[in-house]
Amino acid sequence: MSDTLSTGTVPASAPPPTRPSSRHLAVARLRDLALVPAIVAVAIVGWIISPVFLSTDNVLNVLQSMSEIAILVLAQTIVLITGKMDLSLESTFGLAPGIAAWLVVDPELTRGLGLGLLPDAWAVPVVLLVGALVGAFNGLLIVRFGLNGFIVTLGMLIILRGLLTGISGGQTFFALPGSMTYLGSTSWLGVPASIWVSLLLFAAGIVVLGHTRTGRALYAIGGNADAARAAGIRTDRVLWVALVVASVLAALAGLLISGRLAAVPAAQGDGAIFQVFAAAVIGGVSLNGGRGSVFGAFTGVLLLFMIINVLTLAGVPAQWTNFLNGAVILVALVVSRITGGKAQT
């Protein structure tokens, strides 16, 4: 056997592979907190521009204005971590309370807008049921029939928006029953209930995704679906549950905003999905699945709404808000690319 052709005779002189430095590990754990410095910086800038910024009223104002979108971000985060995406959340956000209002509202009071078929007490269950049905239908197409999640939910986004426009005739449902307006309009301990609800949901999300087997299964599926299946995870079932939970959360968020505004406009949630995606990605959730955290997503949505609030306080004309929103998203992405060291995908 000549030396050039042997494979197994090389002495084990090479050092064993080096361990990654502890610094690397620290960075990995700190990624959750990546946006905290940015949030502090915006808070300081806001306080300099207007001392009102850090007043209790304004802080509650920011938290309330973001609470509904934040729940959508939570819903989208759950879906994104499994490696899928759900564009239809923004339409579910409008349709779920819309259907409830349509079935419950008295046509006598609203010039024939509603049907008045169901008693008022049914409104909230109907909202959540519509969410669950939309999620189950998404699951049927994506999980069962293996269709592309992006296209399926794009189709659902359009169809659900069209359904809401159809049943409302493009108008706004009003004269909603008290059960529908309660959560969005009441206060607990001096703090609007919608803030409590969104914070509690985020806390629950952190616990479920970080500390239960089902939550970790979401990460496993998003990271490597075959490996997850090999580890005994029922991947189809988990995906289905994720899609249903996300849609129910979107319906609940829609209920909160309907309650706050005491109305369901036909365009409720229209275009919100872009902000939702932006907040999730800024918060470190990967569009490729398997990476990101609920806390990170929360910091993402908080940062976005703080910046919008600062711009408002600074007197930036409303016509420029969209331009600046887009700029904020791009800048936040660049910043997270620099601090995270890896491209957000």
Binding site: S2, G8, H211, R216, G222, A227, A228, A230
Partner: protein, 509 residues
């Protein structure tokens, strides 16, 4: 766990025994009455050429696929039903070439995925999970920090982690599917040390490799599969390399060989490759004369495809130059290579060779827009005429030039790729695995084309590990681990060539 606990029995019963296994995929017979018996505590090698049925057998032994016929027994008892994953995991584990690690999760979580340590409230206890993971890795002496994301593991560490995970399910029988394919020599050495240690602790291995030397270094017995059948099982020590290679190759059904006429010895040198180094580190220098057919042979990971891609401009080489008919090709530029007269049949026709939704005519003429029109406008008539010529010359079975290539069979698709490579009347034709996945008839046509073009003075490179492809060559350069290790003139013996591709030299043992 739902399964009844599984206790391996006494030492003289085989760890696994598969008898008379038959498995069909559609019309192909993947296994035909094949079997294997692995004794407790041995390291057993499973070898065979591509398509011999090794992967199918592994799928059946690990419970991922059901056999159509035959029986599998672990420790003398029938295998559990396929749905009972837990029972399978207690008996057998497989470390595949493809990772079953989730890169975004930590090593600790990967080890205990879906069986995390939990508190009474049902919440995961990360601290005890990490402790258990550390304990598990320490038990099998795997030196890896369990807190790091699995994406940061090297291939070698990943394999150790997968082995430790398999052992933690209670399996003491582990299938290693080409574990050395992605390792360097030092890594292979450490892997073998680890395997010998575990063998000492009573773990049984089924070791699959294309490198025969490794089997002599590591294994006790070897089983050879060929053409879906079991050929032999024998102690490694008593089996010569010649006998092993002969068992693997057998009496290959050879292609009817046209009488071979070597190129004129005074033909000018057309292609000259000087000190080419690819990004993966493979090296090649060679000169090819007009009308000469040169083979570049080697197994997966030998670097043969990488050097071919560097020659044709698909990949940018790190160093070296390629000269075709006196013209130095711009490194990494396909347009320059086309302009100089290079025709290419790439390795994967689905990925690089064809646009499936477009017609035969559009695919064939893709590289030669200047021949079918002027001023950037394409003449449909001229394009279809060119395509009809190709269809006739290569006997492509299709309704006409407008047929989408997606509607063609694999062999006919490959002919379209060949037609495209020939469309610019190349001076150098580079064929990478030109007959992969095509039927015998198409194979004959495709290889017959080579004979035609070489008579017109075209130089041909055939990059393949298929003996039939290489048989038409005037000489074959054999690559192994990025280097040319042998050059064989026409008329080589199958055994010599296969042995050289596997990294063994039969004449210097």
């Amino acid at each position: 766990m739902t399964a009844a606990p599984y206790h391996p029995g006494d030492a003289d019963r085989p760890v696994v025994e598969a008898v008379d296994i038959t498995k069909r995929f559609g019309s192909t017979l993947a296994l035909s009455g094949a079997g294997i018996m692995v004794r407790r505590g041995e390291t057993h090698a499973l070898v065979g050429r591509n398509g011999a049925g090794k992967s199918t057998l592994v799928g059946i032994l690990t419970g991922l696929q059901a056999a159509d016929g035959g029986a599998v027994a672990f420790d003398g008892r029938p295998a559990p039903p396929l749905a009972d994953r837990d029972a399978w995991r207690q008996r057998v584990a497989c470390v595949y070439q493809k990772s079953t690690i989730i890169p975004t999760l930590t090593v600790a979580e990967n080890l205990f995925l879906n069986r995390h340590a939990r508190s009474r409230a049902g919440l995961i206890r990360w601290s005890s999970l990490r402790r258990e993971a550390q304990h598990l890795l320490a038990q099998w002496s795997v030196d890896v920090d369990v807190r790091q994301p699995a994406a940061t593991l090297s291939v070698e560490q990943r394999q150790f982690v997968e082995i430790a995970r398999a052992l933690s399910f209670g399996a003491r029988f582990i299938v290693l599917d080409e574990p050395t394919a992605q390792l360097d020599a030092a890594g292979i050495d450490r892997l073998f040390t680890r395997i010998r240690d575990l063998r000492g602790q009573g773990v049984t291995f089924l070791f699959i490799s294309h490198h025969l030397q490794e089997i002599y270094d590591l294994c006790d017995r070897v089983t050879v599969f060929r053409d879906a059948r079991h050929i032999l099982t024998a102690p490694v020590a008593g089996l010569s390399r010649q006998a092993l290679v002969a068992a693997m190759t057998g009496e290959d059904v050879t292609m009817p060989e046209a009488d071979h006429r070597p190129p004129a010895s005074d033909a000018p040198v057309l292609l000259s490759v000087r000190d080419l180094v690819t990004a993966s580190g493979a090296r090649l220098s060679m000169r090819v004369r007009a009308g000469e057919v040169v083979g570049i042979a080697g197994g997966g990971g030998s670097g043969k495809v990488e050097v071919a891609e560097a020659v044709v401009g698909l990949a940018r080489p790190v160093a070296g130059s390629v000269t075709l008919a006196g013209r130095v090709l711009r490194p990494g530029s396909v347009p320059d290579a086309l302009a100089a007269g290079v025709g290419l049949v790439p390795q994967d026709r689905h990925r690089e060779g064809l646009v499936p939704g477009l017609s035969i005519a559009e695919n064939v003429t893709m590289t030669v827009p200047q021949r079918i029109g002027r001023y950037g406008l394409i003449s449909r008539a001229r394009r279809d005429a060119l395509a009809r010529d190709t269809i006739a010359a290569l006997t492509i079975k299709a309704a006409g030039p407008q047929t989408p290539v997606a509607d063609l069979s694999g062999g006919n698709q490959q002919k379209v790729v060949m037609g495209r490579a020939l469309a610019n009347d190349p001076r150098l034709l580079v064929l990478v695995t030109p007959t992969a996945g095509v039927d015998v008839r198409s194979k004959q046509t495709l290889l017959g084309v080579v004979e035609d073009v070489r008579r017109r003075g075209t130089a041909v490179l055939v990059v393949s590990d298929e003996l039939d492809d290489l048989r038409i060559c005037d000489r074959v350069l054999v690559m192994f681990q990025g280097r040319v290790v042998a050059e064989m003139a026409h008329g080589w013996s199958d055994n010599d060539l296969v042995a050289a591709m596997e990294g063994v030299d039969l004449h210097h043992v």
